[in-house]
Amino acid sequence: MAIKYNSVLARQYVFISLIALFSILPISIMAYKIFYLDYPLTGLIPVNSYILDVKMQADGHGDSMKMSTFLPKSDSRQTILNEMSSSGAFSLSIDSNDMNRMATWEAEDVNGHHNIGYSYSVQAKHVQYVIPDNLLIPDSYPESLGQYLKEEDGIQINDPLIDQSTKKLITDENPSILDVVTRIHRHLQDDFANKKFSGFTDAITALKLGEASCNGKGRLFVAMARHLNIPARLVGGVILKQGSKRTSHQWVELYINNHWVPFDTINNHFAEIPANFLTLYYGDQALFKHTSDINFQYMFSTKTRLVPRAEAQEVLGESVFNITNFYSLFQKVGISQDLLKIILMIPLGAFVVVVFRNVIGVETFGTFLPALIAAAARESGLMWGLLGFVSIIVISSLVRKVLEWLQLLHSPKMAIMLTTVVVVLLLLAVIGVNLGMIQLAQVSLFPIAILAITAERFAILEAEQGMLKSIKITLTTCVVIAACFFVMDSLFLQSMILAFPELILIPVALNLWLGRWIGMRFSEFIRFRKLIFGPQS
């Protein structure tokens, strides 16, 4: 029997095919990118990025002035991005060799107080090495490593005291490297007190005192290692932690099995280096050098934030199907990648609203207002965003009450409401800036017209169904804004959508499915609880 044309059936087929298309298509493209174009999937998980701001101050007395410090280099462990300098009257030169990068600021006839700043963002990995336990200390090394076996100022490898203490520590005739470095590391970590002392301590002094700061312990470690014919070097850097500080840090690296392996006997890192260690230079160096008598001061300020991995973005830039080309189109007309990212996230926010309205069954002001507010609150942060939203609604609806009393016609009244929203937004921005709450100032990006309409709805609802009802809907709107915010602010999802913009079709598939979902909303179980859970009638 031939199947008769049936519009209901036809619609069902089209519906199912569309859902299938919108789920299979993006997943196939994504799979193609991952397996064929080798997109890095692990690179999509966001990492903690640090923004380090090195501030230097000096007072000039009419003479020439010179200051220098080390700048970090990008390597396999750490990535340095967005370097920015503010040098003022000084000329900046950067001298780079295969080990270190040194920045030097110079100026003639300097008078008065001067500030110099240099900032960059850092993404670094935690690295841990495994030292094979059967590895013995080699008899000889390539010539290039010679400098890491020599005696230096402060690293007195030929001093009898070093010989004595290493002999005491290592009794085996033919010890393994693992055994040797474990014993030295444990000895320095456990038997030497950590001392907060910023001056220079040489290896012998540290040994004699039985206590030392990072540079003393470092020199002693290097001295003992070199004494035992293991190439070793000092590493200088900064431990990155939110806040301001003046302390830098030193640790050591030993050349084991063709790798430079890090050790820190202040913080007990054995053959490992945490993700918040920034390497600035190699060798026994002073981090800052400057002309004397200039009252030189410095400070490290660190801010942290989660960002998509640097490698992921780089690889995306190189790959064939790359989206950065797509973005460069928009960049030509002045639309930033950041803005595009948010625009791409709005469909996801809208889907969150759909779930709240059609599956959970809560009422919100405006269908997609929560998603738009969440997008706008991205700059201000969720708390200030919600605070801004609520204060705009409350103040505008109060103004509406006054206008209502004045008995104005609708359109002029709405125009005044719109003005009120603009004024409140500007006031919030001014308050924010004056109180140093920069985030609050960002609420000025809110969708103004939509807020004016929302304030009007709030007022009508309040008049028709009471204050309680309008407050309730405001609260549920806030909850949905927060939910949208968490989804849209998710760095993982943002990275995914940047790498695989075709995923935007997935919410379309889900919306199609929910668009024909006839189930009970969660709130309806409560609304009809007496029919569902009550006594049988």
């Binding site: 609708h410 006839i518 309806e524």
Partner: protein, 304 residues
């Protein structure tokens, strides 16, 4: 003791008896009512045209104002009237309706006792024309006859006009309720504004169940009059009118609101998106009867 499976089965049956909002929209409103026909219900002036043509009783229209210009003779138009109803033609949820019951010393008084000057009324009408009560769309003001409620309905109502809401699907009356204004609802017969909902048995017209603000009750909270077990007057006429309207308009799932006046039933308005709260009011779900009616309709279509 019930085991978990019988419990789950009963739970599913109970959930399955209730029509949800999503299902109402998808399976009843969208397939039954074409968007293009929505104005027949949403625009009360258009509704009145249909009703007038078919001779269905409804409140007489006194005046219609579509432009501010029309309001210039408002003074003259209202001078002889002391009781009437002002309505937005495309309003929703009962918003913007003023019921004037008397005139004294040049002022009109609403059913709730509020005083209106001519300018108050004119401003209210301007708001209506501006679309305040109809989602910002330009609207028209309807001035119509005030319904004098039947005495038997007055017994159970306090301060306002009660009405019967009838859900009609595929020309079948599905479920009915009476909506009684309370002091809390300010004379309005809208459930979400605090009116009482009284479930009415479709066949007999006898009240069976009542709710107010989500809880069950037996008596009117203002007057303590018992609400259950009362027979609604003109019930068979009310049902007849409901079915007559469903034959009149191309809408297959609709709510018909009928007031019971001292002269008999009068249609107030029809609704293409009737709410689902009527199930709570009747103390039972309407999904089963809707599904049965739907199946019947499908069988008829297939047979043909």
């Amino acid at each position: 003791m019930k085991n978990i499976f019988t419990f789950a089965k009963e739970f599913r049956q109970r959930v399955g008896a209730v029509l949800s909002m999503n299902q109402r929209n998808l399976e009843y409103i969208y397939p039954s009512n074409n968007r293009v026909d929505f104005p027949i219900a949403d625009d009360k002036l258009l509704t009145k045209k249909y009703l007038l043509k078919a001779g269905v009783p409804h409140p007489e229209t006194y005046q219609v104002y579509g432009y501010f210009f029309d309001l210039r003779n408002l003074d003259l138009d209202l001078s002889e009237r002391s009781d009437f109803v002002i309505k937005p033609a495309r309003g929703s949820g009962g918003g913007g309706i003023i019921v004037i019951v008397r005139k004294e010393n040049g002022y009109w008084y609403s059913v709730g006792g509020k005083q209106y000057s001519l300018e108050d009324l004119r401003r209210h009408m301007c708001d209506i024309i501006f679309g305040i009560y109809s989602f910002g769309i330009r609207d028209e003001v309807v001035i119509e006859q005030r319904i004098i409620q039947h005495d038997s309905v007055n017994e159970i109502t306090e301060g306002g006009l009660a009405d019967v809401r009838l859900i009609v699907y595929q020309h079948q009356p599905i479920m009915a309720m009476m909506r009684l204004p309370t002091s809390a609802s300010d004379g309005k017969a809208n459930l979400h504004q605090g009116a009482i909902g009284v479930g009415v048995d479709i066949d007999s017209g006898i009240t069976i169940h009542a709710t107010h603000e989500g809880s069950y009750l037996d008596a009117h909270p203002d007057s303590n009059v018992f609400l259950i077990g009362r027979k609604i007057v003109y019930w068979s006429d009310i049902i007849k009118i409901g079915i007559q309207i469903s034959n009149l308009v191309p809408l297959k799932y609709l709510g018909v609101d009928i007031a019971v006046s001292h002269e008999g039933p009068k249609v107030l308005e029809i609704n293409v998106r009737p709410g689902i709260e009527i199930q709570n009011v009747n103390g039972k779900g309407m999904r089963r009867i809707l599904a049965a009616t739907r199946q019947m309709q499908l069988d008829v279509t297939k047979g043909a």
